[in-house]
Amino acid sequence: MLATPTPSPAETRDNTAFDALLWTLSRPGLPRKLPEPGEGTIITALLDRECLVYSADPLLMPEIMRTGAELADIDRADHVFLGAMTTSDPIADINIGSDFYPDAGATVIIRASFGSGPALRLAGPGVDGAMSLQLDGLPDGFWKARAARLRYPMGFDLFFVDGARVVGVPRSTTVEEV
């Protein structure tokens, strides 16, 4: 009889982090808790040697390098860490995949704070009717720049991180500034 394997602390952390990511991406605008504050658990749950990563935040570099992921320019990267954004210029360069392979569109992780700042109205798959969300710390014109890039099903998917909380906004979500 085989002994049941027990999850290592790293396995549990990655599993919990992914659970939060999957939940919040399938219910845009509803925050979930990551096991630890910051992007670290997202990095270990998702990245490995198969990934091309761009990071605007040099402090995340050691953690990204430890996963074995390859560094790339923003227009080639499949995972983009923008840290706390000061300008919405990087949005123009993010890889949005192709009509053949929409899955090549990047996953973008940005630091923001929830519960204050401009109000947004979200609609689309995962949202029951409409959902309101307040995000602060994003540069001016961020949502316009996003809307200008999206050509559904081509596009990129956003995760906003505030401490240990994470909110997902997939490309299928329409975002309206109110």
Partner: protein, 304 residues
Amino acid sequence: MSLSTLTKPWEAMSYGFLDGSAKRELRRKMLKSVAVPGCQMPYASREVPMARGWGTGGLQVSLTLVNLQTRVKVIDQGADDSVNAASIRRFIARVAGTPTTMDTLEADLIQSRHRIPEEILREDQVLVLQVPNPEPLRSVQPNMSIARQMHADADYGRMWLQLYEQIVRSGRVMQGASYPSLVHGRHVMTPSPIPRWDVPKLHMAKHLTILSAGREKRIFVVPPFTRVEPLVFSDVPYKVEEHGALTCTRSGTTGFFMNEIPQDDGTSSFEISDSEWGVKTIRARDGEGENRGETWYKDGEMPQ
């Protein structure tokens, strides 16, 4: 950087059987499939100790999602106790130490072959469907590359033509299971070979549905609150199987999807397909307590 930081402690087996890189790849692909509902995403589909075509796709998704607290239910054509369901359930419990259940209401994760349970799934539940053939266009376009182009162009004309021809030839749509459905108004998907009875349960549902084809190496998702519309002509309405008036011979429950059991005299008798619903009905009848949840179909009809 030293050798000890690059290696991990030795383990007889990874938790949940799949190794770390397989899980991370599946995680990345699951996120992408949530972002583009109904669009088939290619993934690596690793080996699991089960033959391809027996639920390996669903199993890999389940093994990636489970932790020690996830209560797992596995069904095969509605039944918890068929060989395939029992084997998969035991395998997951053995390699991931998860608690198991047969009760739909208790389950956190439901892996299913070709049925959606009759009780309404909650928002904290995940349904994993095993998919034998993920490509709805295969019957009209066997070339995968051209089919991919057709999905990219949202070119579903041949799909409609096929349905039209069925109506002209037979007077009705002959598609029984895996009825092609438009997800979020953009991608046509096959909902896996669930009966027509189950397709409306996916429309604007509260739960997350993940469909995974292990042999074909494709994964796609129906997020909660997403439109799933069966392809129908405006003058030929979508019809589910006429099971609304049938009664189960073993439990006496009426108004749910039934298995038809041919009899020696040429007639048929019917048994409830969702076996746990039958068990619960029998328990309630015998006075052993009522724990039946709310169902999608009421009196054999899906409320609009």
